[in-house]
Structure formats: C-alpha cells, structure tokens
Symmetry: C2
Subunit: 209 residues, 2 copies
C-alpha cells in the first residue's frame, strides 16, 4: 500500500533561454520541481500528464505559439492549468487565452511574488480537478461493467421507481429486477441506495467546467 503521491511539476515553455533559466531559479527556490522546454512541440512530445502541475507558457514563440499550444491541449483534452507570460501581447490574445480557460496572463516584466502565487493557485486547481476526474473515472469504469439490462434497471432505480414499477415497465418479473439490482449494487460497489444514486448521478451530470 505504498501510494506514490506524485509531486507537482511546473512546466515552463519559453523559447528564450534566459527566461527559462531565471524562472527556473525563481521557482525552484520555493521547492517546486521545474521542467523547461524551448518550444511548444518539445513540451507536447514529452508531457505525460502523470503528475499534477501547471504550465507557464510564453505567448510569442517561433513555430507553434502559446495560444496554439493551448488549443492543441484543449483538442487533446489535456487540462493542465495555464499561466501565460507575454512580452508584448494585446488584449485580443489575452481575451482569447482567458476564454479558453487560462488561469492568468502576466505581462513581462511581472512581479515574482504574483507569479509564485498564481503557480500555487494553478497547481491547487489542477490537483482538485484531477481528484474529481479520477473519481469520475472510477465510477465510469464500474458503470461500463454493467450490462445493457442492468443499465436500464439502474436508470429506473435512480429515477425513484420501485422494483415493482420497474418490473412492469420492462415487462419482466419482480424477481428478475431484484436480481439485476443486486448485481448492480455489487458491480458498482455501492453499500446503499444512497451510494448508488450519488454515483449514478455523478456520471450523468458532467456539470460545469
């Protein structure tokens, strides 16, 4: 039972070596782990989404720029929180970044303290969102193990119908419904109806974000 709690990583993508170098120093001074890349492509190639973290991303870069990388990450459903760093960008870029979910958008030169604050904030966010999606994944896996019939029964159960009603609706016997229900509870690892309902809703309501 040796759970590996992975340490957060601050990814840093900037084409200028001097920026990477000085930011690395700054951030490592707080005990954070830093992983630098000189291009969006290099980041994409090596990012493995295993550890929580955040991404410090320069806007203007040769080849793929910051906003393009953000889009690419969205496309790939990689949801690492992004803090943009810009030398000289305009409102449209900033707006684009935020509307695509950026955590912040800092103009160089920026206050180091603020950057460090935002990094912490972003990492917290990522950890929270990872926890959420891990939970969802667990539940989803269990749901996926249900048979078609069990799915039908489950949805009627969470709608509040009694076994009798469900039996009538599906045109099967009472006992069969009970059998399905028992299997569902087992497969979903639910200890009570309340449990089951919460889990079932969980996956339905993909809610906000």
């Amino acid at each position: 039972m040796n759970i590996n709690k992975p340490a957060p990583v601050v990814y840093l993508v900037d084409d200028e070596f001097s920026v990477r170098d000085s930011l690395r120093l700054l951030i490592e001074s707080t005990g954070q782990t830093v992983s630098s890349f000189e291009s969006a492509e290099a980041f994409l190639k090596s990012y493995d989404n295993k550890e929580p973290g955040c991404l410090l991303l320069d806007i203007r870069m040769p080849s793929m720029n910051g906003l393009e990388l953000q889009e690419e990450l969205l496309k790939r459903k990689i949801s690492i929180p992004i803090i943009f760093l810009s030398g000289h960008a305009g409102i449209p870029d900033s707006a684009k970044a935020f509307r695509s979910g950026a955590v912040d958008f800092l103009e160089k030169p920026f206050d180091n303290e603020i950057l460090l604050e935002r990094i912490e904030e972003a990492i917290k966010k990522d950890i929270a969102s990872r926890n959420l999606s891990n939970e969802r994944l667990l539940i989803q896996n269990r749901l996926d193990a249900l048979t078609l019939r069990e799915h039908e029964v489950l949805s009627l159960v969470v709608c509040g119908y009694s076994n009798k009603e469900i039996a009538k609706m599906l045109g099967i016997s009472n006992r069969t419904v009970e059998a399905h229900r028992a299997r569902i509870m087992e497969k979903m690892q639910a200890e009570s109806l309340a449990d089951l309902i919460v889990m079932a809703r969980h996956s339905e309501v993909l809610s906000s974000n």
Copy 2:
C-alpha cells in the same frame, strides 16, 4: 397561472453618449431590450436583478470605473455576466476582469457581430445560472423548514443508513425515525428516496463556480 417569463435585458454602462446611442441601436436591431446608464453608480441604483441579462461595461469612466463596478457587484453577490468594452486598456485590466469572472473583454473598435454573439452567450449563461440558483433556493427553503431533529435524520438517511441504524444512533425508537422520515419526505416534497438524496446533496455540494 400566468407566468411572466421576463425578457432578458442588455445593460449598457458607458459615460459617452455616442457609444450608448450607437450600441443601443445595434443591439435593439436584434430585438433585445437595452437599458443604458451613463455611470456605474446610476446602474447600481436602478439595477434590480429581476430579469436575466448581461452587462456591457466600459472600463474607463469618471468616478467609479468598470473594474470597480465589477468588484462592487461581486461584493453584493450580483452575478450578472459582464462583457467589458475598453478604449485603451492594458493586459493587467483585462486579466483582472477575466479573473473576476468577466465573459469577455473587447477592445474598441470591435466587430459588431462578435459583440452580438458574446451578448447572446452571456445571456444564455445568466439564464442557466439563474435557473440553477432558483432550484437551489427552492431546495434550500425546504431544508430550512426542517426541524433540527429532522435534519439529523436526513443526513443519516442520505448517508445510506437504515431506519433501524438511525434509531440506534440517535437513541430513539424505530417508529420515531419513521415518523421523522415521513415528515421529511413531505416537507421536502420528495416523491422517492432518490429524489430526497438528490435534493439533499444538491445543497451540500455548492460545487463549482
């Protein structure tokens, strides 16, 4: 049963008459209702939060500026979606606005089509968030009508305990638990356990936003 479905209102706060005038024309041409104000203060005074809508807000104004109004609205827990309009603002203002929840931040001159799109988006957002909070309010009101004891029973019920277990935990008889439970179902207007659980969770998890 004459339900008044209130029409959305586009609030427009800008100190320049010419801007108010031309935007009003533009927006009204799509059939939207517009309500203009020449200052943040004037808006605050007359805004009543009855209708859904959105707020087109100039950044730079004499006296209270756009960002200050946004903060004031946050303080007052008024959550109307804001689209900022700026003549010459910088990234810091834009970032501040977005981090405080702005829907968009457009630089003048902006593309009319984009503005209209964002207005629609913002209104949809407001309607959705109003629906959500109305639901929550309804449920909260019902929860508030529960007695202390009923609250205790409810939380044990949603944790999945049976009446028997609950009775033991609270040191009362089985019947009494059942009586409470029946009252709870009645007061919460729940038609089934599933219903009840969903409602109870609803208020617990104040979730995202």
